[in-house]
Symmetry: D2
Subunit: 138 residues, 4 copies
Amino acid sequence: MPKYRFKLDFKVRDYECDMQGIVNNAIYQNYLEHCRHEFLQSVGIDFKRLAQEKTFLVVVRAELDYKAPLRGGDVFWIGLNLERVSPIRFAFLQDIFCYPDQRLVLSARTIGTALNEKRRPFLPPEFANLLGPPKIPL
Amino acid sequence: MPKYRFKLDFKVRDYECDMQGIVNNAIYQNYLEHCRHEFLQSVGIDFKRLAQEKTFLVVVRAELDYKAPLRGGDVFWIGLNLERVSPIRFAFLQDIFCYPDQRLVLSARTIGTALNEKRRPFLPPEFANLLGPPKIPL
Amino acid sequence: MPKYRFKLDFKVRDYECDMQGIVNNAIYQNYLEHCRHEFLQSVGIDFKRLAQEKTFLVVVRAELDYKAPLRGGDVFWIGLNLERVSPIRFAFLQDIFCYPDQRLVLSARTIGTALNEKRRPFLPPEFANLLGPPKIPL
Amino acid sequence: MPKYRFKLDFKVRDYECDMQGIVNNAIYQNYLEHCRHEFLQSVGIDFKRLAQEKTFLVVVRAELDYKAPLRGGDVFWIGLNLERVSPIRFAFLQDIFCYPDQRLVLSARTIGTALNEKRRPFLPPEFANLLGPPKIPL
């Protein structure tokens, strides 16, 4: 199991399950987003405050590999890592594991950027600090 | 613009928008799923009936490229194509375009399979007919 | 069946159903809200534009009587009437009927008002026109 | 503040907020349902297992009084009481309070019953034990 920079516990709520009795595919994006926002909050970046200041954190690509279903009442956790993918883009790597056997449920890679008021992409200084300098090829 | 095997019109509902005033990322998976189910229905495959008969259509991977946001009241359509990706897996290729200027909003590739009652993957005969024979390399 | 001032057709989407195979209770509030916003739009009142101008249309009370369940694929319609309940409050009366047999699914009464930027309730002039004058007791 | 039989803590997730920047009306029903299911679980009644056994717990009426909005990141709790309202109906009385000032956010009364496989209402024995005997007028 990889090391994670941030972890968050969750419990499946019954209304998140669909007629197959398992958590609906779209709900995982809710879980992943909440984990990202909690991580950002933990390092001093507030999604809501940024939106009020017209800096919009947006997802440009999401890749989700569904490995096993979650069901009503399951308790699980999300592990999160972060990496820079370009001068103005960053990727969240997130895995979902279900208690008690640590079964891998989902792996996701979510690429984001920030948009200014004119919806032009840029990297806010808070993120530059978070990510470290871009890797410069020799 | 590519040719699509199936198209479906939608209108954004205000409750689908988040505090940024745009449709939340996860909601696109709802739209895409509804379009897939309507397409399947149109060719005689009923997601709900299959679930009742313990054949579960499931997503194993989703890739979503977010190109432009949708906002409250926007009217848009989804175009869908289908292709076989392995003996027991198929992919839905779906694009979302917003009226009236046909702006590309999102492109997605969703890979699915079916699980039997024991949750073993297989290709139901309805899908085999739909997809045509697997391509045999010469 | 009562006369309605506004009607809107819907189709249940599979993701709106829960593990009981029926539309989840909370989803009906989504349907009702979308119908109210479409009605308001039809008479020139734009929920989104009002929010941008810091006039917030809010619900202060909702009463929902669940009469029969909706299931995946059901096609239904909502009928809407509007009445004034106080100088600054109005009520939407909404009923949901399922095709093809016009079975009554749900009856709801939703009381709303508007809040200004300081979150003080008031009745925007658009609503005063819509509702007519308050009834004056003789 | 009344005494409650069961309490549950929550935190607002940003995706639960709408374009007004506040939790959408329908989401409160999600919160209330999750709290009810957790309470039932705590007294040995499992909504999911009952559904699998074709006993469907359903809501027949919901009344929600919205007192103040919740916003992204707010931490709140729900207090729950239960009372019998007829031989086969019971009511959940639930209040939502926001930390840290214990501001009242919402009061709700949700009337439920159980349906058997033929969708006829009845009171499962687990509920009879939970509620005590019906009050007999002298």
